[in-house]
Symmetry: C2
Amino acid sequence: MDKQTITIYDVAREASVSMATVSRVVNGNANVKPATRKKVLDVIEKLDYRPNAVARGLASKKTTTVGVIVPDVTNMYFASLARGIDDVATMYKYNIILTNSDSNSEKEIKVLNTLLSKQVDGIVFMGNEITEKLREEFKRTKTPIVLAGSVDDAGDNPSVNIDYVAAVQEEVKNLIDRGNKRVAFVCGPLDQAINGKYRLKGYKQALKSAGIAYDDKLVFETDDTYKTGTLLQPALMAVNATAAMVTDDELAAGIMNGMSDADVKVPEQFEIITSNDTKLTEMVRPKMSSITQPLYDIGAVSMRLLTKLMNNEPVDEKNVLLPYGLMKRESTK
Amino acid sequence: MDKQTITIYDVAREASVSMATVSRVVNGNANVKPATRKKVLDVIEKLDYRPNAVARGLASKKTTTVGVIVPDVTNMYFASLARGIDDVATMYKYNIILTNSDSNSEKEIKVLNTLLSKQVDGIVFMGNEITEKLREEFKRTKTPIVLAGSVDDAGDNPSVNIDYVAAVQEEVKNLIDRGNKRVAFVCGPLDQAINGKYRLKGYKQALKSAGIAYDDKLVFETDDTYKTGTLLQPALMAVNATAAMVTDDELAAGIMNGMSDADVKVPEQFEIITSNDTKLTEMVRPKMSSITQPLYDIGAVSMRLLTKLMNNEPVDEKNVLLPYGLMKRESTK
DNA sequence: GATTTAATTGAAAACGTTTTCAGATTGCCG
DNA sequence: CGGCAATCTGAAAACGTTTTCAATTAAATC
């Protein structure tokens, strides 16, 4: 009673050719006489034959599927990257298996392994804290892996990012130039290299160039959530900060709303610059000034890079830096 | 030079048992003597054997992978659903292949077919305008499909939603009770059943109960984007609307900001209620009152339903309605 | 200890493709 | 029209599992 699945063999019989020939026309192999090609194509049409990608994957050792590991799709930043990834994946005939890791190292390792067991042709990984254990798992496989919008200081994985230190440095400099003596640095977990090594470095460099002493009371390590942001106003006031460089848009939105709710005027009394330029920056009032990152493109370029790696094509630059920008909106003077 | 992949056969040899036995222990089959189980397990450990899911899929005709078709992950509404889906998928040992359709019917059909060719065990579909063509494709396959947060008036696919007509009716009634004689209905494309058939119906019913004549000048069909929302203020004022029931959060945020930018006070001069209760509602000022939908749960329940369908378990209710709520925030009086 | 029954195991056939290699056909040239 | 190269085609062996069925071994019964 089962709906009969029709196989390449059925087509071969019906068209009175061999499986090999059918396989050839399905795969667009040139070595088949136009007449036979037509004959086979007709039978395929008539029988409504659809190749079984699993069998194909087993025989060819390619699944045209790539794994995508992301902390949380629900976060606009990652959703944008994911969209870029999917679009160019589609363009190159790949599909993506998307998994949320919650930035949990154990979970990351686990899903990495299930992705590998599913024989994905490549993986794009997002998440900035790469534990030694995870790094080892990365090394163990020869399936290509690229980091998207994520940095690993210690590893040597291909990656695509922007120049976080330069971007932060530039924005903090602007803040200082506008007269802010005490600018806070509000970031996600510092053990993530992107924060602890790069952005913080940019912050420090800007301070140094301006001859301002680094004060660790001004750096606030958070969990990157909106909620946390809303709670930060008192602490920020307590250290006499008059501006903040924030590393996440939702977090920044939280801070800004916390300020507004406490009747601190943004930007008059407190300036805020955020980092990801998700569409949230425009939706909030005042609109948030931001470092602009080509989010979609970071995803897109990552995936493009991955396709090259999967095909053993030469890549000129393993660690791509895309251009960033500075978007002045209403949360800065 | 290729990294040798080790197969079930290698561990069989090494453990001096048959492949069948190895397969049994890998799959937790009870019929194997504890001693042999241990022996095999040890060899697996020693050789670092990982089962090849593709081969397994071919032999067993199950891939433990489900397809997820979504208009755009970058939209918070769908991202939330997707997250719910992935979480329960993981819980039941499935992975998801995530594809963006842009609500484009051709694209939907195309990805549906590639998902099927990849032999997914099931599909959860999001997107409200289901063309006749797509409906036919749905019918052609015996792979189970469930609609998540999406309705198809004409088809008979399993689905999980909330009671959109009741929810809208209730909110519009509240608006009217508070003295609004002219409440606008701002929605996405009306040819999507969720808008054209359900929500609009709730709107009309509320009007009718209140003895107010339906005026189609008050219904605004849009494309559901933030940008469009920001442009709507003049038109809304032109028809003397004093409140709006909006079917999408980003759209609503746009409208609200458009109002604010034109110095129309929300909620004093214009009340706004939105529909999806994404976290955006809290981030915007004033915070938006909303119909609350258990977004994550809609995804989660869809996936759970799908697991039952995939296992041929009986399901009590093919079309699940989850409870909705009404969240009063600051965009209404 | 001989049977009978239950618990373990293994051999081999799927699963639906791709791919290699050799054989068959065709086209072209003098 | 013979011969050689170029073009097409097919047989059969992978690919790495699961699963069926029969055979073997162990346990239980009297």
